[in-house]
């Protein structure tokens, strides 16, 4: 019953958040300079052609009208159609005029659904790698506050946080892929293409996990109930693994919810560098091409994913620690 109330409330709140997000992104796209029509019709087209196409596409209506139209579509699950990509999946070459009002343009929903699994796969692997790196280091650092394990965790976290992801990506591509030919890097032709980008992303996320884990575990180990567990007769293994870690997990789970946007942001850049066919790559290409419906669709999708994962995060935090307010 408590969980049901929580879900209903949070989903309602989530819808509100997604709605505000869509409003922000929709307005931003239309108030900042940069006319998509100019790109669609090509630089050479005379201004009256631009105006004609723009009016036909509805881009000259007041923003509120455009937004209403967009929302109506959204409620029916329709995110609109791409300005640039035809159904066949080929990008219209610059200057070549494809009429974006015709129905042969790819629906944004399809474009996103096609790419989403790739991105989720990459994100999931990256998270897994990050946890594999940071758990041993973070736990050791948290348990031994004044020993070398803590210094190791501190050093590793400072180092990782200081490596720009794109730079690491280039270096890894150069050495592991081009020189040593250990792993494939560019494009996507199978699972092995995920490993390198996932490693780069993992290095980006790991320092946050290490830091939270060392701090929160260190704090929990000072708690009176951990101290008293010893005199109650529990073994050290039991104290650490079934009580201290459990309590230290709550801040960690919350952190994952908040750092999710870093992860998504990282995915975007990494996909672009590795030419990985996910949502991030699509975003960069769409932004450069001013493909408004695709950008909007992606923003709404990521914010929905963000909201959804944060609901799960809070639920997990509650299941671990019943004192957490949900």
């Amino acid at each position: 019953m408590l969980i049901l109330e929580f879900l209903v409330k949070r989903i309602a709140q989530g819808l509100l958040i997604v709605f505000i997000t869509s409003l922000i992104i929709f307005t931003l796209l239309r108030v900042v300079p940069g006319d998509p029509v100019r790109l669609i019709v090509g630089g050479m087209a005379p201004p009256d052609v631009v105006e004609k196409v723009a009016t036909k596409m509805g881009l000259r209506d007041p923003i509120i009208v455009q937004y209403g139209r967009y929302m109506r579509g959204l409620l029916q699950g329709d995110l609109g159609q791409s300005y640039l990509r035809p159904r066949s999946g080929m990008i219209a070459a610059g200057g070549q005029y494809v009429d974006p009002t015709k129905s042969d343009m790819a629906p944004v929903t399809d474009l996103i659904l096609e790419r989403l699994p790739f991105t989720l796969q990459l994100g999931g692997m990256a998270l897994l790698f990050a946890l594999l790196i940071s758990f041993p280091v973070g736990i050791a650092g948290g348990l031994h506050q004044h020993r070398w394990q803590n210094a190791l965790a501190f050093g590793m976290q400072s180092l990782f946080v200081s490596i720009p992801n794109f730079w690491l990506a280039i270096v890894l591509i150069l050495f592991l892929s081009v020189k040593l030919k250990l792993l494939p890097a560019l494009g996507y032709q199978g699972f092995s293409y995920v490993i390198l980008p996932a490693v780069v992303l993992a290095v980006e996320i790991a320092p946050f996990i290490i830091r939270t884990l060392t701090t929160s575990l260190g704090e929990v180990m000072q708690a009176p109930f951990i101290d008293e567990a010893r005199v109650r007769g529990l073994s050290r293994r039991r104290i650490v693994y079934s009580h201290a870690l459990r309590n230290a997990a709550v801040p960690l789970v919350n952190l994952l919810g908040i750092q999710l946007s870093t992860l998504i942001g990282g995915v975007l850049v990494i996909e672009y560098i590795f030419d990985y066919p996910g949502l991030g790559n699509l975003t960069v290409v769409s932004v450069v091409g001013r493909d408004f419906p695709v950008i909007q669709g992606i923003a709404i999708t990521t914010s929905a994913v963000f909201v959804f994962i944060n609901i799960i995060v809070d639920l997990v935090a509650y299941l671990i620690d019943p004192r957490v307010e949900i």
């Binding site: 019953m1 109330e5 708690a223 005199v231 109650r232 007769g233 073994s235 671990i320 019943p322 004192r323």
Partner: protein
Amino acid sequence: MDLSLILEIDDLTVGATTPAAAPILDRISFRLSTSEIFGVYGESGAGKTVLSRALANWLPESLEYRAGRVAFAGHDILGTGAREVRIGRDIAYIGSKPQSSLDPTVPVGVQIAEKLHSVRPEWNGRECRDRVMQLLDEVRIPSTKERYWDYPSKFSGGMMQRAMIVDAICAEPAVLIADNVTQPLDVTIAAQIVALLHDLCTRHKMATIYLSSSLPTLGQFGDRTAVLYQGRFVEQQAFAELLASPQSDYTRKAIASVPRMWETAEGPLARRQAQGEAPLMKVENVHRTYRARKRGTFNTYSNVQAVRGVTLDIMPRENFGIVGESGCGKSTLTRLLAWLETPDSGSIVLNGTSLGALSSRDLIRKRNEFQLLLQDPYNALPPRTTVGRMIEESLLIRGSFKRADLRKRVIAAMAEVGLAAELYDQLPNALSTGERQRISIARALILDPKLLILDETLSALDQREQGRLIELFSKLQDKNDLTYVFISHDLAMVRKVCTRIAVMYLGEMVEIADNRDLFFDPQHPYTKALLSAAPTLEEKPFDASDFLLEGEPPSPIDIPAGCSFASRCPKAFGRCRVETPRLVEHSPGRLAACHLLDGDEAQAAA
């Protein structure tokens, strides 16, 4: 009784790991036989906690054993015998912080069973669970089956201490170490726990070391008692002899410092209400209910009735006391009296003006007349502000002043409360509790108030400092025509200073009477219970065991019909559970809300 030796302590010396430091425990030696209860008295800082930890081979990292031997049934637990003796099974420990003793993320019962299973692996999970359930029942935790699965945060302090007792005794230890177990609890609850523990120790034949900073509590055990002072046992003898003929000066002083309430019949003189005199503050039928969201429901709230219809007249120049245990609503009442919160219904009239009717601008001006001194002098002062700046703030809120003028007034106020003028430019970090409390007083006093509300103001202070402040208060009263309202749980303090006292239970006043009447002839059963449970070494003017309360107060969310005390009252009868008694003046100046008194009157009339 089996009198075989179970614990031998020889020359136990413990100190910090840095060798230069003086030892914290110095050559402690004693013997303990099975089923024996051994009391250890020591004030805070005497080394009680270190002693209790040292006996369980559980020293913190900063301390080490320097010498001595702790032998359990012949095995030296610090050396060769460590394998034979299992801490948690053979030697168990109960501490003074039940609320933080268990993992907050795991149900209480589960954790106790987990402990039991890990120290007694020969018992399977089911047996452990059944045993824990049965013991929870034995320590009188109601509805054991549900409580087993509740999380620690759902337990009150008293209930949690019971659970920790179960945790300690479930593995059938031969030695139990109880370190100040009643310290955080209310007096009536503490009395229950002491009685329970005493009973369990004899029934389960555990040798018990009971360490406490309260001599009266140790008196309830009555056996051999040691006095710990600066890490040494200054004496060891049976409790009665200890009281009758203390061997050391320290013990004598300790006995003398236990507060006495019934020693003299004298007390602060009641200031009789003169004919036609108007009360300074008139509290009329004040209610305050909080809405707490009910978890697991959609937008439904439960009502926490914190203050339920309080009516009081506070006369000019009197010391009015309000006593009650935690959860009785006195903090809420304090906030209402200080007008930090507004009552849902009812009114508070100060000097003829109803506070509710004032605009916020007028209220700031009116606030000059009544001021609140907060309980905790460490948190009540804004951080990183100099002493002078803090006191000035009272005036600066009300307008701007010339620098020099301001400084002069502040220093005058500081002098009045006994603070040196040099402190003006200093931060209060290095000041003692008493000095900080004086800053609070100066801050209020500079506004020239008529009424001071003191919320547990004196309870954080040691006896000496408390005495000085009481003196200061009475001096200020004579000089400035002050009226005080003391809100406290400390009966001894109230007995010393208050002229008239109100007893609060579950949001209501159950009895209001003059100091002497209340302490020597309490009317309401709750007042009697409260006084019976008060830790003193004196003969009480009535039989304390008659009023040992059962259970805990009902939740302010579901207050039962009838008298709210009926569920714990040893004298409750049919009418109490149906009809709520009203606070009536049974004899001049003595008000009580109890049906039993009606009966007396009826009998007397008959």
